[in-house]
Amino acid sequence: MGEVTYIDAIREAQHDLLAADDRVFIYGQDVGHFGGAFKATRGLKDLFPDRVIDSPISEDAMIGLAVGASIEGMRPIIEMQFADFSSVGFNQIVNQAGTHFYRTGIPAPITVRLPSGGTPGSGPFHSQMMESIYAYYPGLVVVTPATVTDAYSMLIDAVALDDPVLYCEHKFLYRWLKSDQLKDDEEHLPIGQARIVRTGKHASVVAYSAMVHEALRAADLLAEEGWEIEVVDLRSVKPLDTDTVMASVARTGRLLAVGEAFPWGGVTAEIVSRVTNDGFHLLDAPPQRLNSRDTPVPYHPNLWEAHRPTLESISAAIRNLLQF
């Protein structure tokens, strides 16, 4: 474990983007001298005073502004204070940004940063995973970095992309996840490609964002029992890299899709459907899903831990899958 945290990576990526490209600016609540609610923009206002700007509390207008600016050739990064509050910018994201290129042939390259996911004591409105909502809509790219180096490089790549990107960063990983490097040029993958983060032969666990780490811990645990579990980090949920997932399932014959999001529809359903649709013959057991429970994210840590998948529930699901 090194010294570079996940939130450092987000901050550094934004620094490097601002330094390298005049078209980049950051607009969001408290992103200026305060450095943002999570300090993802710490110090950037001093360095780039005109391009790191505190916004009013107007998520709809913030996204509208970004789309307008992108049409004029800028590369805005919009920080939502929490992913949950993007619900009031929802229309501009899905209907304005998402449809723009299709309707006009003119790209709308905006990046919306969504501090996502649960931490204990955060409750129903500061814990949501929104990747599935945005992935549903045509025209949006939705990425979910799980590592420090991906947090860095996927933000760089997101801003470079000519399409609107929802960059779903996981709050639980902000300070908990550390690495000894910021970038990893050798391991760099473009947006749209998944990564096999652990190879195995008995089952494939497909996860994304913070759940990649829970899946890895479960794989460690099962390794002690002699099982070799392959773990796939999706990295981007739209586009979704069916090929890598399918190749993994071809090797293992077994699939568990894990997400921290609500259980109806969403990423895990999409994965399972794609695999059964095109790779039915590869499967030695019914593909399984594990998501959070179908209630709002509870506030109390006791309930929160029982709401989302954990080391225990993932391990149990894998064992169950291996029994077929």
Binding site: A61, I71, M74, H100, R103
Partner: protein, 316 residues
């Protein structure tokens, strides 16, 4: 505005004849205001976020007439290749964003275009205008964008055409203030109110607002009072509009008023006006005829690609 009225009348009759793809939403009664803002702006220099009643402004701003006829008649050569229709057309990189339907949503886009130009150091002398209706003033989108534009002190002119109705809904179910111009104070921006049936008055007030914005005076709200002289769309007979309103000064047709004004002031003669109308009719006829000959979109030829970064496309 003559051209706009002529074009829209033609579109309305094509609609009745079943020749139009989708609905038709026109702006009779609003040409004076719309053309006023359109004519104060320069294509590919200023910015204009036009809405459904803005044929007058679109034409004055410089939108090619073929954009309209191709959109309505379903030609694949229209600005959106049949993917979007009728009024949702634009040329975003020439200062003419393509509206989405959600009311109020385009104001912040225009604000963002201005904001970008400031960052790029090319805002000097630029104005961005956005149109809305009385109904749109009730949306959260409207409010957020107005306030944001005020905070950012952008050269944004918002033309609010209070045409007394939002679809069938009268203004007393839409707002409770004396006039929507009173909102300006609450945003800390300049407010202007004008009789939208009066071309000369509209031109004067709109020009002033545009000049003030250009001169660094920040956002401007212009409220124009008038009456929608059509249905909400051509499918709507507007039977809910009371006669008293039609017969009130608000119900005057700005075209008739303008004709009289221009004749009285000696700016134009009757024959000149007639010639103008004939010319417009011919232009419209030609644009309709051309669009009608063009091919419709073909699903096998459309690439169905939704991403600008085409490497992201998945098979579907």
């Amino acid at each position: 505005m003559v051209t706009a009225r002529t074009l829209e009348s033609k579109l309305a009759s094509l609609y009745k004849a079943g020749k139009i793809v989708g609905g038709v939403y026109i702006g009779p009664g609003q040409e004076a205001v719309s053309a006023s803002i359109g004519s104060c702006l320069t294509w590919n220099h200023d910015i204009f976020g036009a809405l459904i009643r803005d044929q007058g402004g679109r034409t004055a701003f410089g939108e090619p007439m073929l954009d309209a006829t191709r959109s309505y008649l379903g030609s694949v050569q229209g600005p959106s290749r049949g993917r979007d229709g009728n009024i949702h057309r634009g040329h975003p990189t020439e200062g003419f964003p393509a509206m989405i339907s959600h009311l109020g949503a385009m104001i912040s886009v225009v604000a963002g275009m201005l904001f970008a130009r400031r960052l790029q150091g090319r805002l000097d002398g630029i104005v961005g205008a956005a149109s809305v209706g009385d109904g749109a003033s009730s949306t959260g989108s409207f409010h957020e964008a107005m306030n944001l534009a005020a905070v950012e002190n952008l050269p944004l002119v918002v033309i609010l055409a209070n045409n007394q109705f939002a679809y069938s809904t009268p203004t007393d179910r839409q707002f409770a203030c004396r006039s929507l111009v009173d909102r300006a104070l609450g945003y800390g921006i300049a407010g202007h109110e004008v009789d939208g049936t009066d071309l000369l008055a509209s031109l004067e007030v709109v020009s002033k607002a545009v000049a003030d914005a250009r001169g660094g005076g920040g956002p401007q709200l212009v409220v124009a009072n008038l009456l929608r002289l059509s249905g909400h769309g051509e499918h709507d007979d507007a039977s809910y509009v009371p006669e008293s309103l039609k017969n009130s000064p608000l119900g005057r047709d700005c075209m008739a008023v303008a004709e009289q004004q221009l004749l009285a002031a000696g700016f134009l003669t009757e024959p000149e006006i007639e010639a103008w109308k004939t010319e417009a009719a011919e232009e419209v006829q030609a644009a309709v005829a051309l669009a009608q000959q063009e091919e419709a979109p073909d699903p096998f030829k459309d690439d169905w690609i939704v991403y600008a970064s085409s490497e992201l496309a998945e098979e579907s």
